[in-house]
């Protein structure tokens, strides 16, 4: 039996005239590190708060381990939250903060002392019992917040962008720690973030949300390499989008025409015709010297710009079809010099090229035209 299994059915939340969460269906099996990823305003935090109990759903169900808790008050749900600003009680010290839930549950003193001690060990803060939260660093406060929530053995731990207030290096360290913690404790972690790199590195599975709806659910590899909508393609990493005309589709391969060039893409089971978009990730584009062997999916192009980012180079190439595509080339001391104006050949491997119906989940900006110098900074 899975513990911490969440099932959201047609969950909706309206504020005044706005639908913050629009009839979403989501299933999270127990024991997973599951992320809700999306830009601000997409409804991920509202969804989390409804699961926690701080917002009443307008309609829909929140089934936790078989029971619908949508209208249960938050203090009666077996769900605990790590808040964005930690919300450590300023008037209590670390010990009393962590013990708070146990005291509410009227556990005996000896048991409380024992469990608080173990919780502090778990987050590596033993000895900090007497400190006040104002005397702790950001990272330490976050760990106290974790301990405070985990000590109650919830079925699900909700985390609302807990690493947002920390600097980059600390964030990376804590991401690893959080992931390890989840595997050690074994309960469901439901993690809300707008940072796609964070979601990709930590999650077992994730859901990409936009404007109150779930665009795609899957494991990080699937979501990144097989985006199902324009929005997902664009939000995660840099996408190179090209407009194309569909020639034929099938489940094994599709043929499209881009400005006179015929390209083959991966198969799809969508039944579409007419205009569509094709997308390829920068690291899959292969740059071949100008005039080398031709073959399927090759387009001539010219280097427009090169951006050096340390471990790799972003090579922005203007293809003969007119678009600017961004390729990511590892710095292996390659022989081919990429300078502005160098002519070369773009190879878009068939299994890296994906067909997306035009118009579904339109991205806020088509990144294919204006390459982002920071691939980690998403939409």
């Amino acid at each position: 039996m899975a513990r911490g299994e969440i099932e959201l059915t047609k969950l909706t939340k309206e504020f005044a005239e706005v639908r913050a969460v629009d009839a979403i269906d989501l299933h999270v099996p127990g024991g997973e590190f599951f992320s809700l990823l999306g830009p601000s305003g997409c409804g991920k935090t509202t969804t989390l708060r409804m699961i926690a109990g701080f917002e009443r759903p307008t309609s829909g169900q929140i089934v936790l381990d078989g029971t619908d808790v949508a209208y249960t008050p938050p203090h009666q749900r077996n769900v605990n939250t790590v808040f964005q600003n930690y919300a450590l009680f300023p008037h209590l010290n670390v010990y009393d903060n962590i013990a708070f839930g146990l005291k509410r549950a009227k556990r005996p003193k000896a048991e409380i002392r024992d469990r608080v001690g173990k919780a502090l060990e778990l987050v590596q803060l033993s000895g900090y019992e007497r400190r006040k939260s104002s005397q702790l660093s950001g990272g330490q406060q976050q760990r106290v917040a974790l301990a405070r929530a985990l000590i109650l053995n919830p079925a699900v731990l909700l985390l609302d962008e807990p690493l947002g207030a920390l600097d980059a290096k600390l964030r990376k360290t804590l991401q690893i720690e959080l992931k390890a913690l989840q595997q050690e404790v074994g309960i469901t972690f439901l993690y809300v973030t707008h940072d796609q790199e964070e979601a990709l590195t930590m999650s077992d599975r994730l859901a990409v949300m936009n404007a109150g709806k779930v665009e795609q659910v899957g494991n990080p590899r699937d979501v990144y390499e097989d985006p199902e909508t324009l929005f997902v393609a664009d939000f995660l990493g840099v996408s190179n989008l090209m407009a194309a005309q569909i020639v034929s589709t099938s489940t094994s391969a599709c043929k499209v025409a881009v400005d006179g060039y015929e390209l083959e893409t991966r198969g799809t089971d969508l039944d579409v015709t007419g205009e569509a978009k094709i997308v390829i990730r920068p690291e899959r584009i292969e740059l071949e010297p100008h005039g080398s062997q031709s073959g399927p999916n090759r387009i001539p192009g010219m280097v427009e710009r090169v951006v050096y980012i340390g471990s790799a180079m972003q090579v922005i190439v203007r293809a003969a079809t007119g678009e600017s595509l961004q390729a990511l080339v590892q710095n292996t001391g390659s022989a081919i010099p990429y300078e502005q104006g160098t002519p070369l050949q773009l190879h878009l491997p068939v299994d890296a090229l994906r067909l997306l119906p035009s118009g579904i989940g339109d991205a806020p900006s088509l990144k294919g035209e204006e390459p982002d110098p920071e691939p980690a900074a998403a939409g």
């Binding site: 109990g53 701080f54 008050p73 938050p74």
Partner: protein, 300 residues
């Protein structure tokens, strides 16, 4: 998370209290001023039913305030006193607030305490202080005679308009400086620096950036002091026992404690309250406009 009826219930005692002891009394003033007077006992007879209200006394009060009426001078004088006091308070208070907010540096905390201090010193004590100084044999006269500005002691406390205005300024200026300071303090340094960067002289930067951005503070402070000032009667009474300097407040005070003619006093109170409501509406509208233009966090 909380029951929906919790917050209205918590508010209930306070709102009830204010209705019973603030709104209802105000209605009582209306009822008295629009009532009649018992001819034998000279007692006011309030009329509680709005349909039966008698505007006679209100009209009488309005006539007395109109040009030619016996209160006309008092009304004009009140407006003049308040206006002059407000201007003086601004002229003195603005530079002080400005310096404290923007240039005080490490002195800021100390100066702030010294500026807030008068707010906690009893108003009466502050007036008492000046009455002592302005006595015939007080320090002011002695100093002025010592420096040969005066040849004999001057009677400051016998009915002098300038003394009253001086006292009003002294008494109310702390209440202007505080909101002014708060508003000036909130102005981002970078706005002024941007103006200087773009070629504005210090004075010009002040005029085109700081001053407009402090408008809500000026208006808020102005409201905060002129509204009570219009009802002030004790300040003229303390520093000048003469009817030559009486304000509207004195008139009301007279009708309740001197006369008594409470109905007339109530009528005058209503007129004053209505006048102040117009003034307040004007201020609120100006603040709203200034807020909208500038996007600053507003007063009230």
């Amino acid at each position: 998370m909380y029951r929906r009826w919790l917050w209205p219930s918590l508010s209930f005692p306070g709102v009830l209290w204010l209705i019973v002891l603030f709104v209802v009394p105000f209605y009582a003033v209306l009822a008295v001023s629009l009532g009649t007077v018992d001819p034998i006992l000279f007692q006011p007879v309030p009329i509680w039913n709005p349909l039966e209200w008698n505007v006679g006394w209100l009209q009488e009060a309005l006539q007395r305030l109109a040009p030619g009426g016996i209160w006309f001078d008092v009304g004009i004088r009140t407006i003049v006193y308040v206006a002059l006091s407000l201007v003086l308070c601004l002229l003195i208070g603005y530079p002080v607030a400005y310096y404290t907010a923007r240039h005080a540096g490490r002195w800021k905390g100390l100066i702030l305490i010294l500026i807030i201090l008068p707010l906690w010193i009893s108003y009466m004590m502050r007036m008492l202080a000046w009455v002592n100084l302005l006595q015939a044999d007080g320090y002011i006269n002695r100093f002025l005679m010592f420096t040969h500005v005066l040849s004999q002691p001057r009677d400051w406390l016998g009915g002098s308009s300038s003394t009253v205005i001086f006292a009003l300024v002294y008494g109310y200026i702390p209440y202007l400086i505080l909101p002014l300071f708060a508003s000036l303090d909130r102005i981002e340094r970078s706005h002024v620096e941007a103006a200087r960067d773009l070629g504005a002289s210090p004075w010009s930067a002040f005029r085109t950036v700081t001053l407009p951005l402090s408008k809500t503070g000026i208006l808020g402070g102005a409201v905060l002091i002129t509204l009570p000032m219009f009802g002030d009667y004790y300040t003229p009474n303390i520093v000048s026992m003469s009817p030559k300097t009486s304000m509207i407040g004195n008139q009301i005070d007279l009708y309740f404690h001197g006369g008594p003619q409470p109905t007339l006093g109530a009528a005058l109170t209503i007129i004053l309250a209505v006048f102040l409501t117009f003034l307040m509406a004007y201020y609120m509208w100006s603040i709203h406009r200034a807020q909208r233009d500038v996007g600053a966090v507003g007063a009230l």
